[in-house]
Amino acid sequence: MGREKGRSVSAYLIRRILTSLIVVLGVSIFVFLLLHLIYPSPAQDILGPKATQAAVNSWNKQHGYDRPWLLQYLSYMNRLIHGDLGYSYKANQSVVALFQERVARSAYLSGISLVLAVLIAIPLGIYQAVKRNSIGDNVVTSFAFITYAMPVFFLALILIQVFALSFPIFSFEASQSLSIWHVMTDWHSMTLPIATLTLISVAGFSRYMRSTSIDTLAQDYIKAARAKGLPERLVLTRHLLRNACLPMVTLIGLSIPFLLSGNLITESVFNYPGLGLLFLQSLNNVDYNALLAYTLAGAILTVTGNFVADIALTVADPRIRLA
């Protein structure tokens, strides 16, 4: 029995890995083709508006932009596998180098916001479920509803107004330091960007956590735990918390695209030199290779997030292991 179970888990794993790979492949074709259709060649942007057609043609031929898109795609993928994301003609350095400068900063901002959001939303949702329809619950629900409808940048502007202008506790610009260590210890300038991204995520997470907690509280095992005289604190931590957190795993996995979008806007408002700001600059400069690489990276991160969430859920919850 045990071995059979193990086998079907690994079969599930293999199937899941395969579908993820297919999706990643599809994403790379889709993104490449889309960018190719919109910006067939960076030649004109690099050579300048006065470049003759002949010069553009010869540049295209020299850099392989005259080939059919499928060939271009295959050679791009070939280089990608070897760790070469192309050259950013605007920044005059390789895209890999450009990313290396910035990736830690974006990862820090998004990572810490996600962790904080989860740490706040879980107890908040449980509190709301336990004290359902109380004043506290209604206040939190209204607050979450408003935040949920709020554009990230407007929330950021309100935080700036209150905590940087009216009461100048924090800075309205994020840390510009090149050292990630400085960024991490610079609470004066990092609190507001982190708070913005955290609050936006908390709104969605806590609403979801509240409803799964309410569902879980109605289960028989909670009644059984209460009936056998288990203190309420233990009912909540042992039985409710663990079970109600399971669906959150999926939600966190699915929230990565929203987190990346939020990260983009937050970096723009607070002028934080991470990957999101780089993406916006690349859009303005028509920096083809940087756009392609970051969009692909975002998509792969999303697929990975879903995959990890699925696997984590399978490991954590034996009931759905073989579904």
Binding site: A149, P151, F153, F172, L283, G298, V303
Partner: protein, 306 residues
């Protein structure tokens, strides 16, 4: 109770409609409407949305603010007589701009939502009805689209083609059909095994007739609920694009545009250039979410009471 709500799987199979044609929704719809009207938040949502539609489309007929000629003698004025919401750094009237910006936001929001729902509806219905390898291929396409972060891809396309209301609606619609497609497919998967579909097939209905006359009308509950959420998402997306500077081009403006130099404006203390616009976005999006939640609840109630 003679008519069973057609958009939902019946709990009681013996009373499911068996004819090829599904009659007009009567008691179910009335029940849902009554439930919807009893939901105070939903009525508030409808009220807010109606107010903004009137404000943005009828308002400019009544109130003529200067929104097109720079007036350098009256820049950055706080709210006062003649300028109820103050003026911008160009001397434009903020209230007038708020109306104009709202037009663009609402137009794009609704148009994009309908485009997205339309594509998603067809895609989901076709995939669900076809089943097998066609279904899995079509759903993998949905997976692929969903894996690319929405804002990234919309920004990339909008840089070249997003200068107009129509362009923006098409772009946002083209990337928001995925969730509706999944939901409609799910509905169709349960609907297609029902007797009335088999009867329609027996009567000689082709695929397109099955989809257009039987499956989509019966999945309408899910679709309607989704329209409202899609409107909310589209309005937020337009605002984000405008804020980042990749939205509509001058002279068309939207609410996001108006906030694009918000940080600078705020440090100068020009609060009237930030809060009315921001609050408008929040209110409209919240109204759509409230209506969507209420619609979903009332459809659930219809199921429960039956």
């Amino acid at each position: 109770m003679a008519n069973i709500a057609p958009s939902l799987t019946p709990l009681d199979i013996t009373r499911a409609p068996e004819g090829g044609e599904v009659g007009p929704v009567q008691s179910g719809l009335r029940l849902a409407l009554r439930e919807f009207a009893q939901n105070k938040l939903a009525v508030i949502g409808i009220g807010i949305l109606l107010f903004y539609v009137l404000f943005c489309f009828v308002g400019p007929l009544v109130y003529h603010g200067n929104t097109s000629n720079s007036d350098l003698l009256h820049t950055n004025l706080p709210p006062q007589a003649g300028y109820p919401l103050g003026t911008t750094d160009q001397g434009f009237d903020e209230l007038g701009l708020l109306m104009k910006g709202g037009q663009a936001a609402l137009q794009v929001g609704f148009a994009a939502a309908f485009i997205g729902i339309f594509i998603g509806m067809l895609w989901g219905a076709i995939a669900g009805l076809a089943g097998g390898i066609v279904d899995s291929a079509m759903m993998r396409v949905v997976d692929v689209f969903l894996s690319v972060p929405f804002l990234f891809i919309v920004l990339i396309v909008a840089v070249r083609y997003g200068a107009s209301v129509l362009g923006l609606s098409l772009i946002i619609g083209a990337f928001t059909w995925l969730v509706p497609a999944r939901l409609v497919r799910g509905e169709v998967l349960t609907l297609r095994t029902r007797d009335f579909v088999a009867a329609a097939r027996t009567a000689g209905s082709g695929r397109s007739r099955l989809i257009g006359r039987h499956l989509i009308p019966n999945a309408f509950g899910v679709i309607i609920v989704n329209v409202t959420f899609n409107v909310a998402d589209a309005i937020l997306a337009v605002a984000a694009l405008g804020f980042l500077g990749f939205g509509l081009h001058y002279p068309t403006q939207d609410w996001g545009d108006m906030l694009s130099n918000g940080v600078q404006v705020m440090s100068n203390g020009y609060w009237w250039l930030v809060y009315p616009v921001g609050a408008s976005i929040v209110l409209v999006v919240m109204a759509c979410n409230l209506i969507g939640d209420a619609l979903r609840d009332s459809l659930d109630v219809r199921l429960r009471r039956r």
